[in-house]
Symmetry: C2
Subunit: 235 residues, 2 copies
C-alpha cells in the first residue's frame, strides 16, 4: 500500500507539478482509464470503491470525481454518485461533429508549421502503431493511435485547441470501449486492422497540403464514427 502510493506520487512528479497532491493521482488515473475506454457505460463509480482501489481516503476521490464531472467525463446521479455516461447515437454524432471541426482545424494549422523532423517523429509513431497491430491487444493500439493524433495536433501549437480536443476524446471514452471490444475480436479473427488514414495524413503534411490533410483527418474521424455506428446497430 505504501509502496504503491509512492510509485503513483513519483509518476506525477514527472510533470514537475508544484505540489504533489494525491487527488491528482486519482484524477489522472481515472481520466486515463476513461479516455481509454476501460469502464463500461452506465457503470457507477462509488467513492468508497475507488478509495479502496487507490488506497486512500474518500477525500481525494471525491474531489477527483467532481473534477471529472466538471469536464462532463462523468455525470452525477440524483444520489450524488458518479456514473459513466450512457451510450447514445445522437451524442456520438454530436461529439464527432465537434471533433471534425476542431481536429480538422488543428491539422490544417499544423500542416503549415510542421518541420521534416516533426514528420519523422510522426512516421515513427505510425510505424509503431502498425507493428503493434498484430502483437498486442486493442488497448495498446488505441493508446498508440491516441499518441499519433495528439502528437499531430500538438504541431498546431495551440494549447487551447489541444485542451478542447482532449475533452472531446474524454467524452468518447465509453464509445472507445465498444471499439476496443470490436478490435479485440478482429485481432483474434486474424483480420488486420485498418489504419491507412495515418499515411494519408503524413503524405499531406509532407506536401504542406492543407486541404488534403484536413480531408484525411476528417476521413479518419468519420471512419471510426461509421464503425461505431455499425457496432451500435448490431447491439
Amino acid at each position: 500500500m505504501r509502496h504503491w502510493d509512492e510509485m503513483q506520487r513519483s509518476i506525477n512528479l514527472d510533470a514537475s507539478e508544484s505540489r504533489a497532491k494525491i487527488q491528482d493521482n486519482v484524477y489522472s488515473g481515472l481520466r486515463e482509464s476513461l479516455i481509454e475506454g476501460r469502464y463500461d457505460a452506465g457503470q457507477v463509480l462509488t467513492m468508497a470503491a475507488l478509495a479502496n482501489v487507490y488506497g486512500t481516503s474518500l477525500m481525494p476521490v471525491r474531489e477527483a470525481l467532481q473534477r471529472l464531472v466538471a469536464e462532463q467525463a462523468l455525470i452525477v446521479l440524483p444520489n450524488g454518485s458518479a456514473v459513466v455516461p450512457h451510450i447514445n447515437v445522437e451524442r456520438l454524432d454530436d461529439i464527432c461533429r465537434a471533433r471534425v471541426i476542431l481536429e480538422r482545424s488543428a491539422v490544417e494549422i499544423a500542416s503549415q508549421k510542421v518541420s521534416s523532423d516533426d514528420i519523422h517523429d510522426l512516421e515513427n509513431i505510425a510505424a509503431q502503431h502498425r507493428e503493434i497491430a498484430g502483437l498486442e491487444g486493442a488497448y495498446a493500439m488505441l493508446s498508440m493511435n491516441r499518441r499519433f493524433h495528439f502528437q499531430l495536433y500538438g504541431y498546431a501549437g495551440s494549447s487551447t485547441l489541444l485542451q478542447l480536443i482532449e475533452t472531446l476524446w474524454l467524452s468518447m471514452g465509453p464509445y472507445m470501449r465498444l471499439m476496443s471490444r470490436d478490435i479485440e475480436a478482429q485481432i483474434k479473427g486474424g483480420n488486420p486492422i485498418y489504419a491507412g488514414t495515418h499515411n494519408d495524413i503524413i503524405d499531406a503534411l509532407r506536401a504542406h497540403d492543407t486541404l488534403r490533410a484536413g480531408d484525411a483527418i476528417t476521413a479518419d474521424i468519420r471512419a471510426t464514427q461509421a464503425l461505431l455506428h455499425t457496432i451500435l446497430a448490431k447491439s
Copy 2:
C-alpha cells in the same frame, strides 16, 4: 445565515437539479463573476475569503475552486491557492482563434436550422442590447451581448459545441474585464457603442446565408480581439 442558506438553495432548485449542493452556488457564482470579468487578472482567491463572502465553510469553496481550475478558468499557485490567469496577448490570440473556429461553425449550423420565431427572439435580444447601451453600465451590456451570442449558438442544437464555446468564454473572463473598463469610459464620454455585427448576423440568418452568417460572427470576434489589442497596447 439560515435565511441566506434557504434562499440560495431555492435558487438552485430553479434548475431542478437533483440535490441542491451549496458548493454549486459557490461554483456558479464564481463562474458567472469570472465570465463577466468581475475579477482582475492575477487576483488571488483564497478559500477563507470566499468562504466568508458566500457565508459557508471552506469545504464547498475548495471544491468549487477545483472545478474551475479543471476548466482552466483559474490556475493554482505553487502554494495551492487559486489565481485569475494573467493577461497575455498570445493567449488572447489563441483563444480567439479557437473561438472563430467553434463559433463560426456553430453559427453556420444554426443558419440552416433557425425558424422565423428564433430570429424574432434574437431580434428582441439585439434590441434590448441596443437600448441598454446608453442607459446601463458596461456589465449589463456585456451580459446582454452574451445572451445574444449563446441564444444564437443554441440554435445549432449541439450541446457539445455549446459547452466548448462556454469554456472559451470563461477563459476570456480576464480580458472581458479590460473591455468593460473601456466600454465604461466610452459610455461616460458619450460615445455610442458599436454593435452592428449583430444586425449583420440576423440578416444573414434570415436569408439562411451560411457563408455570410459565418463571416459576420467572425467579424464580431475579430472586432473584440482588435479592440483588446489596442487596449493592451496602450497599457
